[in-house]
Amino acid sequence: MRITSFMIFDQLKRSIERNLGRVSELNGSLSSGKRIGKPSDDVIGMMRAMDYRLSIDSNDRFKRNIDEAKAHLGFTEGVLSSVSEALIRAKELALTGSSGTQDSESRMAIAKEISDLRDHLISLANSKLRERYVFSGFKTDTQPFNPNTLAYQGDSGMINVMIDKGTLIPINVLGTDAFRYVLTADDTVSLDNGKYIVYSQAGASIQVEIYDSNGTPSDPSDDTLLESFGFSNFMEMLDHLGSALEGDDSLKVQALLKPLDLALGQVTNLNSEIGARLSRLDDQTSRLEKSTVDFKTLLSGTEDADIVEVVSELSKTQTALQALRQSSAEFLSQSLFDFLR
């Protein structure tokens, strides 16, 4: 093949261009730290990177949701602990008050403390986290319990947040669950003096009836109703307890001991359920964190440049470029004309 001046020149030019292109590409990788600068550099890698970034992002989002859920549930747990302490204290006071050894003055003092506990329960029930009432369902701008009528003003909305793909967890507890219990069947408690108490569910409230069997427990037809009252939440229950102590109605105080136990049980159960939710959130957090670390490693492996490799490749290319320039300089400046004098 004939080799002409243009061919040599063109070939050198192209070689230098190719090397310069490679140097600029490597410099780009070096400055961005990325192996993939645009989709066509590595389509599959780019798709994977997009996938990993999406997963990392949604993990971060789920973690934020979990933090929010933990804040709510932790706060609620604290409130419910106070509620159970108040109920325990109320039970102690009820037992003291019903022992019959108290004079009216000390009974009045106990009744006063019960009334304080009731007010404490109301303020606990109307607790706010930031600007949000925690026990009123979706009606977060409304006090769950009216301080005067003690009626429940919230609704049954459960506020769910997503903590994983397709997994929702409620972050609130309803006032109707935290400050009320529900009887599934009527309950009868006999007292040793021939009297007995019947607890039954009437709508949203618990109905308490105290009967005297008049000596013949086997024959209900001659029983007389001594007293009946109802309450639809713990605050109303404490109201009754207070008034019973004030009126020295030991029978009524006795009749309220069992509801106090049930109330305490309800709150304790609820709190352990919240505890379970919280520990599930903790598990989920560590799962998400581990998966984020995994994804970040994968992402880095997919799109990050191996700096050592890039640098050595760069110096290799630069050396080649140097050699090429040197040889071109010599080659292009010489021709037969130099020797024909």
Partner: protein, 538 residues
């Protein structure tokens, strides 16, 4: 034979060497001229005379100045230039489009989508919070801006392609008229000679044809007079000394079509810069632009369907989150009119439709699946309903008439966030005024994971990923093919160079060779002169 004959031999030697030296000089002068073919002097023995029983030479004559040229290589070079021109145009445009979808930096639509749904999630955790709602509106607006920015970068690219098409056509016409002019000159010079004498003009014409084939796919035929006919898309662009210029016209889609002699030759143009531009334009319109619009339309549709069902903090309901999708219609009729409205967004398919007519009936076809979605007897003004769309055509129609209905064309230009007051974001799904109700916001948030039939059974991000991967693959393939075609073109050029190129070393040797020959010729004359002197002094 006389002594004067010796003079003539000397003269022929000097003349031949001088010619050879000027050809060498011409070669050296044109060492860097593109398209130049090395010339060579062909020397012949001058016809001898008979002297008695012997023949005596009469020196040398220049029989031809030959052009070193290989017709086969030249024609292959033309074809390769066309492929190269096409690849170059495609690579150039696709690498621009690829940058529009470049998600390696955190500024693209992928990030926009993530932030948008992330903001919905923050509303889920704090449905009553105005700051979170304001952030959501902000993120939605920024997503809309990102999408609009991407669309305008793509449409700008298409506009540039159209402008470049026009420029290329102008360049083609200029070259074509130069070729026609050269055709005339070559025919005139070579008339009656029977050989390719107009060597430099032919070089120039070959160079122009090379440039032309870089721009558009041509085929060339040389007639016996030396004129070249250049054919583009089955029509003569150049025929002898006549040019039929290429022209552009806008077609019904707003794109440029190419015409020669009032005949549409667009489909015949497959390679060269022009072919590359046409095909990459069609690709962009039917792929990245279409995909981006579909994504935006689908986001709009799905979010709105859910948002309409929800309630805002201000008890508002039935409102759209994004501006309602609007339909664009294309009217390719002689006298009829069309209006199209969306009656049921939930059954909308986001495909484009074509309405055609025969003598009595109308036919509505889905442009993407080809399925017939509605048909019936045509009556002016009566509504036609299909896939959530109501179309009313009024006026007389002919069988040539055609209408198109597209929810995509304006999907991005009309995109906007319709909700202004953050309280209007419908996070609640039941009753009015429940600040803690996040059920609807949760549903919108879950959209980000939903598989959508409009998007071919993928999620928003999945669809985006597919789009990006298609563009990346296409652009990667274009740059690979450019490298391949470039190497091939280089190989062809080298082969042409090997035959036609000028080597300075070779010319240096020729220079010395012919200089010596010239000197020797001159010496013959000098010797002859001395001989004559000797004779005259007798």
């Amino acid at each position: 034979m006389s002594l004067l004959g010796l003079f003539n031999i000397g003269k022929s030697a000097i003349f031949a060497s001088q010619t050879a030296l000027s050809v060498t000089g011409h070669n050296i002068a044109n060492v860097n001229t593109p398209g130049y073919s090395r010339k060579e002097v062909i020397l012949d023995i001058a016809i001898p005379v008979s002297i008695g029983r012997n023949f005596l030479g009469r020196g040398v004559s220049v029989s031809d100045i030959r052009r070193n040229y290989d017709r086969f290589i030249q024609s292959q070079l033309l074809i390769q230039s066309q492929n190269y021109g096409r690849s170059l145009a495609m690579e150039r445009v696709l690498s621009q489009i690829e940058q529009v979808f470049n998600e390696t930096d955190d500024l693209g639509i992928e990030t926009g989508l993530r932030d948008f749904f992330g903001a919905w999630n923050d509303v889920v955790t704090n449905p009553e919070s105005i700051p979170q709602r304001t952030v959501l509106l902000e993120k939605a607006r920024s997503l809309v801006n990102t999408i609009k920015g991407m669309e305008s970068r793509i449409t700008d690219t298409i506009r540039h392609i159209n402008e470049e098409t026009n420029d290329t056509v102008k360049r083609i016409n200029t070259i074509a008229s130069d070729v026609a002019r050269l055709n005339d000159s070559i025919v005139r010079i070579e008339a009656g000679q029977g050989r390719e004498k107009a060597t430099d003009l032919r070089d120039e014409r070959d160079r122009l044809l090379g440039e032309l084939s870089n721009l558009v796919d041509i085929s060339t035929i040389e007639d016996k007079n030396g004129a070249v006919t250049v054919i583009v898309g089955m029509r003569n662009l150049v025929s002898g000394g006549v040019t039929n210029p290429l022209s552009t016209r806008r077609n019904e889609n707003g794109d440029l079509d190419l015409y020669i002699d009032n005949v549409n030759v667009t489909t015949g143009i497959k390679s060269g810069t022009l072919g590359g531009l046409l095909s990459v334009r069609d690709y962009i319109e039917s792929n990245p632009l279409h995909d981006l619009r579909k994504l935006a339309a689908s986001l709009n549709k799905e979010v709105n369907i859910l948002h309409r069902q929800g309630y805002g903090l201000d008890a508002s309901t039935g409102n759209d989150f994004f501006n309602l999708l609007s339909l664009s219609t294309g009217d390719f009729s002689s006298g009829a009119d069309i209006t199209a409205t969306i009656v049921d967004p939930s059954t909308l398919t986001l495909d484009e439709y074509v309405i055609t007519f025969d003598a009595t009936n109308y036919y509505v076809r889905n442009k993407e699946t080809g399925a017939l979605v509605a048909s019936g007897a045509y009556s002016s003004g009566s509504p036609i309903e299909f896939d959530g769309i109501r179309v009313v055509v009024t006026g007389a129609v002919t069988t040539q008439d055609r209408f198109t209905v597209s929810p995509l064309t304006g999907a991005i230009s009309n995109l906007g966030v319709a909700i202004i007051d953050p309280k209007g974001i419908a996070a609640a799904s039941s009753e009015t005024g429940l600040p803690g109700d996040n059920t609807n916001a949760l549903r919108v948030f879950q959209l980000s994971e939903d598989v959508l039939s409009d998007l071919g059974g993928t999620t928003f991000s999945g669809y985006l990923r597919e789009t990006v991967s298609r563009i990346g693959t296409m652009s990667g393939a274009a740059s690979d093919s450019l490298r391949f075609e470039d190497n091939l073109l280089q190989e062809m050029k080298n082969r042409r160079e090997a035959v036609s190129g000028v080597s300075l070393d070779e010319e240096a040797m020729n220079l010395v060779r012919f200089q010596r020959a010239f000197e020797a010729g001159a010496r013959i004359i000098k010797v002859t002169d001395e001989l004559l002197q000797t004779v005259l002094e007798l």
